[in-house]
């Protein structure tokens, strides 16, 4: 899939490119709005990542152009200007998602995956883990015919995020950011991820030991598929 990265901060654009290339995306970078506008006019992209704070261009204008040229292109707005009205305006103008800086690359990847799933209308995203079947669309876990209902919303979020980034070790800060991203509080180091994992294991153990949920010593957790 093709991605156009419109980001004037070269270092950040570089990291985005590196990460997305590593995840099998084809990337192009524009450091300003003018060249981005030209590229949007001539090429087709699956994803356009737009930084709102461009030096020469209003990011929202660029969004409008992108949507006019190719309504199929999924636009994700990246901005440090986390003002609320920008957010509303951006989504009104057809942005598919919005990520306030600073964001985790993994979060970006999961948003892109969600958009892809939406686009291609994937009905049931079923993942089998040992004897468990995890339905990422309905957000349910079943063991054989029995539904594992004890799993809470937060716990499911954790499992789903680990599945999305399967075979990769996710650190506690990455997991925290994902499941508590909308909460603004002043704790800087929480060990609650461990408590959540402990609860998940306890609840799943009733049926079968979830060996696929690994603790990576000193680093975090991983689901191996």
């Amino acid at each position: 899939m093709n991605v156009l990265i419109v980001e004037d901060e070269k270092a950040l654009a570089g990291e985005l490119e590196k990460f997305l290339t590593g995840n099998n995306f084809l990337c192009e970078i524009c450091y300003n709005g003018r060249t981005a506008s030209e590229k949007i006019g001539t090429n087709k992209y699956d994803f356009i990542l737009i930084d709102l704070g461009l030096p020469d261009y209003d990011g929202l204008d660029l969004l409008k152009e992108a949507k006019q040229n190719d309504p199929e292109a999924a636009c994700i707005i990246l901005t440090a200007r986390a003002e609320v009205y920008d957010r509303i305006k951006g989504l009104d103008m057809g942005a598919d998602d919005y990520l306030p800086k600073p964001f985790s690359l993994l979060e970006l990847q999961s948003r892109m995956q969600a958009i892809t799933r939406r686009k291609f209308g994937i009905q049931h995203n079923l993942v089998n883990l040992g004897g468990f079947a995890v339905d990422l669309t309905d957000r349910t876990i079943a063991f054989g015919d029995t539904s594992v209902s004890a799993i809470t919303k937060k716990e499911f979020d954790l499992i789903a995020y680990l599945i999305l980034h399967k075979n990769r070790t996710l650190t506690r800060p990455q997991l925290s950011e994902h499941i508590w991203g909308s909460v603004v509080n002043d704790d800087y180091d929480s060990n609650y991820i461990d408590a959540h994992i402990k609860n998940i294991r306890k609840k799943l153990n009733v049926f079968e030991a979830p060996d696929w949920l690994e603790t990576v010593r000193g680093l975090g957790y991983r689901i191996t598929l």
Binding site: F19, P102, S104, V183, N185, D186
Partner: protein
């Protein structure tokens, strides 16, 4: 006491004292005036009699040397003429009693000796003082009534005038000081006054509030800019660290990367929190949501239950299912309660409890968040909403002291009043009063 009350009170008392003093002095005054008046009349009459005698001769009054005496019918005045021995000489005016036809009457008597030919005569002219004394009482009463009436009139006019002249001051106090919440940004209306002192006061207050507002705006702008500017470098670092995990690095390096990630997270949290507070203060949030109170508290509970579990703290929320908040920002209210409950957990004891209760009160709806924690000392209470202020340092904690500032900013944005009750080692209760217009039942 208000300035106007003080002025009126002083005016009344001082005037009353002067009036009473005057009325008390009145008899003496009247007597003195009357006396000098009577005395000069007596003297004039003496001159007339003497003139008459000179013209017509003493025989006219004293034919054959007989003493002369004449009274008015009611014996108010009398004139007497008699021979006098040459051994004494008189020219006096005195008050004396005289027996006249069986009545003893007090007179003001002029006595005067003079000689005609070889003989000495004594002239007496008397005026009854009874009439003089009788007028003093009524005069005093009339004076008192008239003066009191006049005093009342002046007090009333003083009151009206002072009311008129002090109105700008009242307006300045009411609109600029009492009803003003610092810092409040908005139109500044000049108070109309012709009194230069008040004008100066008003202008000075204008200027001072202007300075305060500018300082506040500057601080807000700075925090807003600083946190914005920090976002991009933090973002770059975060991406760089995340990408490094994917490179071919040893586990030891990965652990160090995780440490860096943690530290970066700290920076991120501070910046995000400051940015949130500055966005709230700059009113960049909309208040268009509606949410049930119990639903909101349930959301908070779900989000925070893992923390309750860690300390084995029991949690109960007793609120009516019918009560809803309207015209609020759901995201912000969620964060308000999250931070309050998080605070209640942080400063709670193991196996403690947190209870949230809602009830209707006179001016809206009150939600109390009570914990069984270590409490806050009275001397610390005024400072708990200050940014980066961490109290209760003895507790092991991983935060910067921005939780309660978030709570306060959100509460102020929604005009929610916060009252705190706390007792050390017993617990703390935050009473949030939501304005009535924010509540639907």
């Amino acid at each position: 006491m208000k300035l106007q009350t003080k002025l009126t009170l002083f005016n009344t008392v001082s005037k009353l004292v002067i009036v009473l003093l005057f009325v008390a002095l009145l008899p003496t005054l009247i007597k003195t005036i009357n006396l000098s008046f009577t005395d000069s009349r007596l003297k004039r009459e003496r001159e007339k009699v003497l003139e008459d005698i000179q013209k017509k001769g003493i025989e006219e009054y004293m034919p054959n040397g007989q003493a002369y005496g004449s009274y008015t019918p009611l014996k108010e005045d009398y004139v007497s003429l008699d021979t006098a021995s040459d051994s004494y000489f008189l020219d006096t005016i005195r008050r004396e009693r005289r027996l006249v036809e069986g009545d003893t009457i007090s007179y003001r008597i002029l006595s005067y000796t003079f000689s005609v030919g070889k003989k000495d005569y004594l002239l007496e002219i008397g005026k009854s003082v009874k009439t003089i004394d009788e007028t003093t009482g009524p005069l005093q009463n009339i004076a008192l009534e008239v003066l009191l009436g006049m005093m009342l009139l002046t007090i009333l006019s003083d009151l009206f005038y002072s009311n008129y002249i002090l109105r700008p001051l009242g307006l300045i106090i009411k609109t600029k000081l009492v009803e003003r919440k610092f810092p409040q940004f908005g139109e500044y209306k000049k108070v109309e006054t012709s009194t230069s002192d008040f004008e100066r006061l008003d202008v000075s207050i204008h200027e001072m509030i202007g300075d305060i507002e500018r300082a506040f705006l500057k601080e807000r702008e700075f925090i807003s800019n600083a946190s914005h500017e920090l976002m991009t470098p933090v973002s770059i670092l975060q991406s760089k660290i995340e990408n490094m995990f994917d490179e071919d690095v040893t586990d030891e390096v990965k652990i160090r990367l995780l440490e860096m990630q943690r530290i970066l997270n700290r920076l991120k949290t501070i910046t995000k929190t400051l940015l949130l507070i500055s966005q709230i203060e700059n009113e960049q949030f909309l208040k268009e949501d509606s949410i049930g109170v119990s639903e909101l508290l349930q959301d908070v509970y779900e989000e925070i239950s893992i923390r309750l579990q860690e300390k084995n703290i029991s949690f109960e929320a007793v609120v009516s299912d019918q009560v809803r908040f309207t015209a609020v920002n759901k995201f912000l209210l969620f964060n308000l309660f999250f931070n309050l409950v998080n605070n209640a957990i942080k400063y709670n004891k193991e196996d403690g409890n947190i209870s949230i209760t809602g009830r209707e009160v006179k001016d809206g709806y009150m939600i109390s968040v009570a914990d069984s924690g270590i409490g806050i000392g009275a001397e610390q209470l005024p400072h708990i909403f200050n940014r980066f202020k961490k109290f209760r340092q003895s507790m092991e904690q991983d935060s910067f002291g921005l939780g309660l500032p978030i709570v306060r900013s959100i509460a102020e944005f929604h005009k929610i009043r916060i009252d705190i009750r706390s007792e050390e080692n017993v617990g703390t209760t935050f009473d949030l009063t939501f304005p009535a217009e924010m509540i639907t039942v």
